[in-house]
C-alpha cells in the first residue's frame, strides 16, 4: 500500500512532464546553463561615443547622440528541430551610458544547440498596461510615460544643426502599442548552423550583436532632421520603428 502510494507520487510528475512535452513544441532538457549577449552600440560602423562625436544620417545631416537606451524583451531561442524556448521574464534595458547594461546574462536556459534567436524590440503589449513593475521595467529608469501608460521602447536624444527645436534638440522617444500607432517590433535572426549557440553545462557562450543607432533614421524611410526631430509615440514613431525593425541589430558572431 505504502509503496504503491509512493510510486504513484513519483509517477505523477513524470506523467505531467511527459504530457507537457507531447502537447507543445517546447524545448525540454534535463540540464540548464547560462549564456550571455553583448550589444555593441555603433553608428554606421563607428563606435557610439555619447555627447561628443558627430555622425551623419542617410541624408548626410550631422548629428550627435546624448542618450541611447532600448528594451530587448521576450527572448526566444529555437533549435533546428523547430522546438523553442521562451526565456521567462526576459526584460532588459540597454543603456549606452552604462557599460554593464550592454552585456546581459541569460540563466537557466536548457542546454542544447540553438539556431535562431528572436526578441521584442521594446516591451510586449500586456506589460505596458500592467501594474507597478520592477527591475528593467521600473519607471525609475525613465522609460515609462506617466501621462500615457506605456514604455518608451527606444529612446534616442541628441542634437543636429538641422533641428528647429530649442538647442537643436533631437528627441526620439519611440513607443505605443495600440493601432494604428503600434511600435512593437520583433527582431529575428538565424544562427549559422555550423556554429550554433551551444548552451552547455561546461560552457557559457556569448552572442555578439552590433547595434546601429543610425538605423532609426534610415531603412524604409530616410529621415531628415529638418522635418522630423521630435516624436513621442504616434505616427512618426511608427516611421522610426519601421526603420529600426530590421536595421538596428545584426548578429556579428558567437563565442562558444
Amino acid at each position: 500500500m505504502k509503496i504503491s502510494t509512493y510510486f504513484l507520487a513519483l509517477l505523477c510528475p513524470v506523467i505531467l512532464l511527459s504530457s507537457c512535452k507531447k502537447n507543445t513544441d517546447e524545448v525540454t532538457a534535463d540540464t540548464k546553463s547560462t549564456f550571455s549577449i553583448e550589444f555593441e552600440n555603433q553608428v554606421n560602423g563607428s563606435p557610439l561615443v555619447l555627447n561628443t562625436t558627430s555622425y551623419k544620417n542617410a541624408k548626410g545631416e550631422d548629428f550627435k547622440i546624448n542618450v541611447f537606451k532600448y528594451y530587448v524583451s521576450n527572448i526566444k531561442l529555437s533549435k533546428a528541430d523547430g522546438t523553442t524556448y521562451l526565456i521567462p521574464e526576459s526584460y532588459f534595458l540597454i543603456d549606452a551610458s552604462k557599460a554593464e547594461s550592454t552585456n546581459i546574462t541569460l540563466k537557466d536556459v536548457p542546454t542544447g544547440d540553438y539556431t535562431k534567436i528572436e526578441y521584442t524590440i521594446g516591451v510586449d503589449y500586456a506589460r505596458n498596461f500592467a501594474g507597478a513593475q520592477t527591475g528593467a521595467l521600473d519607471p525609475i529608469n525613465g522609460m515609462f510615460w506617466t501621462w500615457n501608460s506605456g514604455y518608451i521602447f527606444v529612446k534616442l536624444e541628441g542634437t543636429s544643426p538641422q533641428s528647429a527645436a530649442t538647442g537643436n534638440a533631437l528627441t526620439f522617444h519611440i513607443g505605443g502599442v495600440t493601432d494604428p500607432n503600434n511600435t512593437i517590433r520583433t527582431f529575428t535572426t538565424e544562427i549559422n548552423a555550423a556554429n550554433p549557440l551551444r548552451v552547455r553545462t561546461d560552457g557559457k557562450p556569448n552572442m555578439h550583436f552590433i547595434v546601429n543607432a543610425a538605423a532609426l533614421f534610415t531603412g524604409k524611410t530616410d529621415i531628415s532632421f529638418s522635418t522630423l526631430y521630435f516624436t513621442m509615440g504616434g505616427a512618426n514613431s511608427v516611421i522610426v520603428a519601421n526603420n529600426y525593425a530590421n536595421g538596428l541589430f545584426r548578429l556579428d558572431h558567437i563565442h562558444n
Partner: protein
Amino acid sequence: MLFLSIALMYACSKNEDEVTPEEKKITFSVPANFPAPAYNFEDNKLSNAGFTLGKKLFYEGRLSADKSVSCGSCHQQFAAFTQLDHKVSHGVNNCQGKRNTPPLFNLAWQKAFFWDGGVKNIETSPLNAITDACEMGTNIETIIAFLKNTAPYPDLFKQAFGSTEINSQVILKSIAQFTAVLVSGNSKYDKVIRKESGIAFTSTELAGYNLFKEKCTSCHAEPFFTDFSYRNNGLDLVSTDEGRSHITGAASDFGKFRVPTLRNIEYTSPYMHDGRFYSLDEVLEHYNSGVKASTNLDAQLKTGIPLNTTEKEQIKAFLKTLTDHEFIKNTLYSES
C-alpha cells in the same frame, strides 16, 4: 505617555461597534449593486499593513519638492478626494495645473485613468503627480532616498512587504492598497436600489431620478454614473485642452473627456475637466442653454437638454441622493 496612549486606544476601541483589541481587518468590499471589479488585488495582496502604509504615503507631504504637497492636498476626503474650490489642481510652489482634480473612489472598477484615459493602471496612476513639476515636482529616486532614511518607513515596508527594501514597485503597490479600497456605494440612491428597509426616495427625488434616466444615463450610466467613454458635451466651440486626442492622436477625439462619475457630486465642486462651473445650477443651465456646437459634440446633445426650473430642481434633488456620507466621514480613510 504610555498611559496616555493606552487611554487613547481604549477610547478609540470603545467607539467601535465591537470592542476588540485587534485592529479591524481591511477589506475590499463590492457593493451588491456593483459588477465585478477590474482590479482585484491579484498581484497585490491586500493587508492591513499594506493599506496603513499606503494611507501614510498618501498623506505624506514630505514626498513633494517643497515638502508641503501630499496626494491628500489635492485629493481631500471631505470633498470625496477631489480638491475643493480649486478649478484646476494646485501643487508645489503654488503652481496651477491644467485640469480639475478628479475624485478618488470606485477606482477598482476603472480600466483607464485621468480625464483623457491616458493612464491604464491604478498602480501607475500616481506617477504623473509625483513627477509633474506642477504637482509634487519630485522624482522616484528622491522619494526612495527619503523613505529609506526616515523612520518608521523601513519598518512599515517590512511589515507590508516582508522586506525593508524600498523601490517604486512597493511604493506604488502600497498606495494602490489604499486608493483601490476607497469604495463609495452607500449613498441613499444605493440603499434605495438595494431595497434596504425604510429607505425611499422623496417624490421630488423620484421625479429627478426618472428625468435623469431619460436625459442623462446614456452617458452617466448606473451604477457608476459614467459609462467610462470619452465625449464632448459642448463646453467650448474649440477646446483649449485637446483631451482624448492627446492619447489617441485621432482628430475625432479632440476635445473629448471621460464622462465623469456623478457620485458625491454635491461635494466635488467645481465641475468639468477645467473646473469652470462652481454649482450644479450652472451645470444644468449649460445642458439647458449653453451647449456649443463644437466639431466633435456628442450627437445626443445637438439640441442641448431642455430643462425647466422644476425639472432642474428635481434632478438636483436626485443628484444629492448620490452623496455617500459614510464614505466621506469614514475615519479609516482619514489622515490620522
